[in-house]
């Protein structure tokens, strides 16, 4: 078991013929992910070919879903068109839309969130995120479900859930686990933007309920209060050991640190406040990013 996606999940890629989308569609195929369809408006009827695999391309997500039974999507569409692509996936009744695209205007995401209100069918992950990996049982975790841009081979099938806003910091945590022989149930990057589809708390709830997940690494960063909310919930309902790390202790206030959401404003969203919330909730806090895996393993 895992959360959100399993090795059987049928995936489609929106923007499969773009350079970015094509590159990662190939890597997902190489990883053994069930990539069943691509969507590029105007290229319906063509095929995306890689290593002997022929993935049919459709003009619309609705068509792709109808013809292939895909239930999840990875959005690689450029920022000006990404909000539209996300809502197309929602309209097509997908279970999961993972928006990889970086640089979507915040107000576009405000509209997307508003349009998705009351929709209990589709979950949005991202945008501006590395995506999701549920590792497989093959060599270098081959045969898993890889949605997005994370390197597949760093994973190992197992029982630790990883949730983070950042890409490379997620890989860092995953690699620390794998290097110590510890596998992961599912690893999720929820994205570095101020408005995202799924929060730390949403993922923590799923990990908490997943019988196969026995421990959790939660990586946060400065800005907003999502980490505090997750910590508060863990204090009341958490059933599993959680290790946490917060990036940005040295970031100056008022500056956007790469991620649009990583900014301390009006004295809110500081690393110190988040670390304090983690500690108060009994979350093991890694003093440095090098100790994320070890901090969790000590708790288990």
């Amino acid at each position: 078991m895992a959360i959100l996606v399993t090795p059987q999940t049928k995936l489609l890629v929106q923007g499969i013929t773009g350079e970015f989308g094509a590159r990662h569609a190939k890597l997902s195929l190489d990883y053994g992910t069930q990539l069943v369809a691509g969507v590029t408006p105007g290229k319906g009827g063509q095929c995306f070919e890689h290593g002997g695999a022929k993935v049919p391309i459709f003009d619309t997500v609705a068509d792709a879903v109808k013809q292939t039974g895909a239930t999840a999507s990875a959005v690689f569409v450029p920022p000006p068109f990404a909000a539209d692509a996300i809502l197309e996936g929602v309209d097509a009744g997908l279970d999961l839309v993972v928006a990889i695209t970086e640089g979507i205007p915040v107000n576009d995401m405000v509209k997307v969130k508003r349009a998705m209100e009351g929709n209990s069918r589709t979950r949005l992950i991202g945008p501006n995120c590395p995506g999701i990996v549920t590792p497989g049982t093959g060599k270098d975790s081959h045969g898993g479900c890889r949605i997005g841009i994370a390197p597949g081979y760093i994973h190992k099938q197992g029982n630790i859930g990883v949730v983070s806003r950042s890409g490379t910091l997620t890989y860092e945590a995953v690699w620390q686990l794998t290097s110590r022989g510890v596998g992961q149930s599912t690893c999720i990057g929820i994205g570095g933007d101020p408005v995202n589809g799924t929060s730390h708390l949403d993922i923590i709830k799923l990990f908490n309920a997943d019988p196969e997940t026995t421990g959790i690494i939660m990586i946060g960063e400065i800005g907003g209060s999502a980490e505090e909310e997750a910590a508060e919930w863990i204090a009341k309902h958490g059933k599993k050991p959680v290790a946490g790390f917060i990036a940005g202790a040295t970031a100056p206030p008022g500056r956007r640190m790469g991620h649009a959401g990583a900014i301390i404003s009006g004295g809110k969203g500081t690393a110190a406040a988040k670390i304090a919330a983690f500690k108060a909730a009994g979350i093991g806090v890694a003093a440095t990013p090098s100790e994320m895996a070890d901090t969790l393993l000590k708790l288990m």
């Binding site: 915040v106 509209k111 841009i149 940005g248 100056p252 440095t288």
Partner: protein
Amino acid sequence: MNIHEYQAKQLLTQYGVAVPDGDVCKTPDEAFAAAQKLVAAGHKMLVVKSQIHAGGRGKGTFKSGFKGGVKLCKTAAEAKDLATAMLGNVLVTKQTGPDGRLVSTLLVAAAPNIKKELYLAVLLDRGNSRPLIMASTEGGVDIEEVAEKTPEKIFKEHIDPAVGMMPYQARKIAAALRLRGDAFNAGVKLLPGVYKTWWECDASMVEINPLCIIATPDGKETVVAVDAKISLDDNALFRHKDIMAMRDLAEEAPLEIEASKFQLNYIKLDGSIACLVNGAGLAMSTMDIIQHYGGNPANFLDVGGGASKEQVTAAFKIILSDPNVKGILVNIFGGIMDCNVIATGIVAAVKETGLKLPLVVRLEGNNVAAGKKTLAESGLTLITGDSMADAAQKMVKAVAK
């Protein structure tokens, strides 16, 4: 992106928000002409305001010794004298840091008869992904202080982005601001314009502090935006060519402008250990781990998903132009990128820039063994780190020598 007060007022005016009459001036003569026009229109009091992207202008001091970046006056001649004292001089405020900012533009405006100063802002509430109006009867002061000491004096109203600000919400906010009579009606007209400016310009923040109740010459009351600050969502600038044209490069750090040309995300800090990292989260935590082991980061630098030779070379050049830098820590998790390609890029960049400072490289990921071999066989005196902790400790030690 941030814009100047006069530019913010131009945007607000487009959405029907009342601001005091005034003109933008680049020379004392222009200030004289602008002031003359305002006097002729019947304005009894004028204000000359330095245009820089930093707050605290009124209480700031010019390096020339002249006090105040915002000054009142009554005549065109006085306005010209004030302009002469401000233009071409560096203004230091509590927000500029000791270097201050060069004042090259002024706003010469009517100074209305202010009855009461209020506060108004529009921003995104990240908690529920909805626009939020913040209003307070306590204007003209530091709103963060109000929020901390008297939070009950801050009124909040969320806006449903599907319908925008409804008239009843404007009335609610106007009432919360204790506007009455003519001022109430003026407020109800002004508020949707402020929200629309935020929404349609893709602003991340619109702040009017103070929003003022003023007495008009005919004895009535109205509300006007006496000051205005707007910051914009960089991701949305592609659809606002007019706003993009408002960018003032003189207000941005030269190294950060240079970095943006190479898709590098660079923010200068005041420590001595420079870092070069791929990914924003990893870049932030690299700064953190440097500090954890007793060093001080000189910058935030995210080279993005890849790390090409051109990017690394440009990054080294930018880093090296900071005289405080005593060592460079490279931390790359090459998940998809071939670490050997990255290592080759690092070696080439070191040779091209003639780097003399200690360099610690921590590489991890795809084809890392070949990458480490390339580094080892390069003949360069670089130090390799096995983990982030190892690399950071070696770096701090190398700089301490």
